[in-house]
């Protein structure tokens, strides 16, 4: 499998670039600590005011662990579209295009490689802080394994969506607004802060058909409330959406090639 090995190596280089600056990399851990600290305080207050067990079935410890897992995925996102936009603006995209490798695949591999070390760091820091704050008792070993599987698929999905947004740079000067919409959808219908179980029925039904909860909700849910049937259903949904976005990226890329303008020089 030459293309796969190639992608793995591209990812490895991207991961190395992430680790090039220890200070900057470790600041991410600090950000995670602050985030989790704030949310622990916030949820403690909510649960004290409204009583411990709510209809949703999440205890305070569950909800805090749920949050650390969604944030671990969210904060590992590479924002590859920023690099792609910059490459299109500066014209450096010419080099990547002159290689015997698929441009979107190269970007997706870079995105995943960038996410990998961040993911490990976020998970370790987040789990430590939250464990010290509300206890380590949440989740289970199968839950953790399911989380890892669904998180990898989630990051893959996020990488494809990131590449898709990045490809828009061939049409638009600035792709950031599109990302903001995507990000806000992850915050809300994706269940970043609030699990889908808290949603009113109609909203939960809609959310379950949308791709966003497969990125944030799915891995975290698998960890705090492991159920083999649900994990399988979520994984299947992720795979189907991967196929959908993979096709979409290929189509958009084909159109982008025709209207490519390389700036400068």
């Amino acid at each position: 499998m030459k293309p796969l090995r190639r992608c793995l190596f591209i990812g490895r280089i991207a991961a190395r670039q992430q680790l090039a600056y220890r200070g900057e990399f470790l600041m991410r851990a600090v950000a995670m600590v602050i985030f989790m600290g704030i949310f622990m305080a916030l949820w403690s207050t909510v649960y004290t005011v409204s009583g411990n067990a709510t209809e949703s079935g999440y205890t305070l410890r569950d909800i805090v662990w749920y949050l650390v897992m969604t944030e671990t995925v969210m904060m590992s996102s590479s924002r590859i579209f920023l690099d792609m936009g910059e490459a299109v603006r500066s014209g450096a995209v010419a080099y990547t295009l002159a290689r015997p490798v698929s441009f979107p695949l190269f970007q997706a591999a870079t995105s995943l490689g960038t996410s990998a070390p961040r993911f490990a760091l976020n998970l370790a820091t987040g789990a430590l802080v939250v464990g010290l704050g509300v206890g380590f008792g949440a989740g289970s070993l199968p839950g953790l394994l399911a989380f890892l599987l669904l998180a990898i698929l989630a990051l893959l999905l996020d990488a494809l969506i990131g590449v898709l947004i990045g490809l828009l740079a061939f049409w638009m000067e600035e792709t950031q607004p599109v990302f903001w919409i995507y990000q806000k959808l992850l915050f809300t219908v994706g269940g970043l802060f609030l699990p889908l179980e808290f949603f009113p029925d109609w909203l939960r039904t809609i959310s379950r058909w949308l791709p966003f909860h497969f990125i944030t909700y799915a891995p975290a849910r698998a960890f705090v409330a492991f159920a083999p049937g649900e994990v399988a259903r979520l994984a299947l949904g992720q795979v189907l959406y991967l196929a959908f976005f993979g096709t979409l990226v290929a189509l958009v890329w084909r159109a982008a090639q025709r209207r490519l303008v390389v700036q400068g020089g």
């Binding site: 670039q17 090039a20 010419a94 002159a98 290689r99 015997p100 390389v262 020089g265």
Partner: protein
């Protein structure tokens, strides 16, 4: 054998036109107006294997656009091109294995990592055998003298060091054609010469076809035998670099050392550039005054100790071509 053939190649770009001011911006948002610019207008040429060709012309003449079409990055609007028997924009990935490109104003090395990481990545991307890759890399490292920089993060390298690494990176997969888009831009004279020497050496050793664009007359003169001048998207000259000089060379410079003080020399087409007592420098427009007529005139009037007749620098010739083209 022709390694590049181009027939009636045309590339049009559509860009948005915005009227000035905030009102203009708002109007452009609602009713975008577009304008089509022909960057390349039906150019045709062929380049043989192992040739060294300079593609020169003022900014915006269409040089880079042509290179980007030939490397498969851009799709042309119309026309045909074949590079090593492949259609670049249709068989981009296949072609990529056989060509190398250096864009002087851009970087292909990972900025925060040492060049060796980028080299390793390229070896994977071009699917090079490990043994062959290491041998090739060792050879290029020695030739380009980049051994000490291989392990230094790219951001800490000087421009000259980085450019040598960039070019070496483009040669790892033994390309048969090397496209150089202003490879010496921003470099100092010494580094420029080194890079020219290296490219020349590769051309002679491995028969690599060199296709170069540059604003540096030295690059053209030292590196290339053939030059194509492009302006407003059209090829206005295609021939030898030496012939280019003759075609566009309408002036010669005469430097004299006299046995007697300078007293002036009046003749149509002759301009005194400077004179200092016994020394004088003249510019002769050879279309007005044939050079032998001027020299014999000078010889009959002055007792001459030394005489030198020079061509103007390549620099001046290129400037002249650009200026002439702008008038047209």
């Amino acid at each position: 054998m022709a390694s590049i053939t181009v027939e009636a190649l045309t590339k049009a770009f559509t860009s948005q036109v915005k009227s000035p001011g905030l009102r203009g911006s708002v109007r452009a948002l609602l009713h975008p107006e577009t304008r089509t610019v022909l960057a390349v207008k039906g150019i045709s040429f062929a380049v043989d294997e192992g040739e060294r060709v300079a593609f020169i012309g003022p900014n915006g003449a269409g040089k880079s656009t042509t290179i980007k079409i030939l490397t498969g990055i851009l799709h042309p609007t119309s026309g045909n091109a074949s590079v090593l028997g492949l259609v670049p924009w249709k068989q981009r990935q296949q072609l990529a294995y056989q060509i190398g490109a250096v864009f002087g104003q851009k970087s292909q090395l990972w900025y925060h990592l040492p060049p060796v990481d980028s080299f390793d990545l390229l070896a994977h991307i071009y699917a090079l055998e490990p043994a062959a890759y290491h041998e090739r890399r060792a050879m290029l490292v020695e030739l380009f003298e980049i051994g000490p920089h291989l392990q230094t993060p790219v951001r800490k390298l000087s421009l000259g060091e980085r450019m040598r690494c960039e070019i070496a990176a483009s040669l790892l997969h033994r390309p048969r054609i090397l496209f150089l888009d202003e490879p010496t831009i921003g470099l100092d004279v010494v580094v420029k010469q080194r890079i020219r020497d290296l490219i020349l050496e590769l051309n002679q050793q491995e028969g690599v076809t060199v296709f170069l664009t540059s604003h540096d007359a030295g690059d053209v003169e030292v590196l290339c035998k053939r030059a194509m001048v492009i302006n407003h998207g059209e090829v206005i000259y295609d021939g030898g670099v030496t012939e280019l000089k003759h075609t566009y060379l309408r002036t010669k410079i005469i430097s004299l050392k006299l046995a007697v003080p300078w007293q002036g020399f009046d003749a149509p087409g002759v301009t005194v550039l400077k004179h200092t007592g016994y020394g004088v420098k003249l510019e002769v427009d050879t279309t007005v005054a044939p050079i032998e007529q001027v020299t014999s005139g000078l010889l009959s009037r002055y007792s001459i100790v030394d005489i030198n007749i020079d061509n103007p620098q390549m620099e001046a010739i290129i400037a002249q071509i650009y200026n002439a083209a702008q008038v047209v």
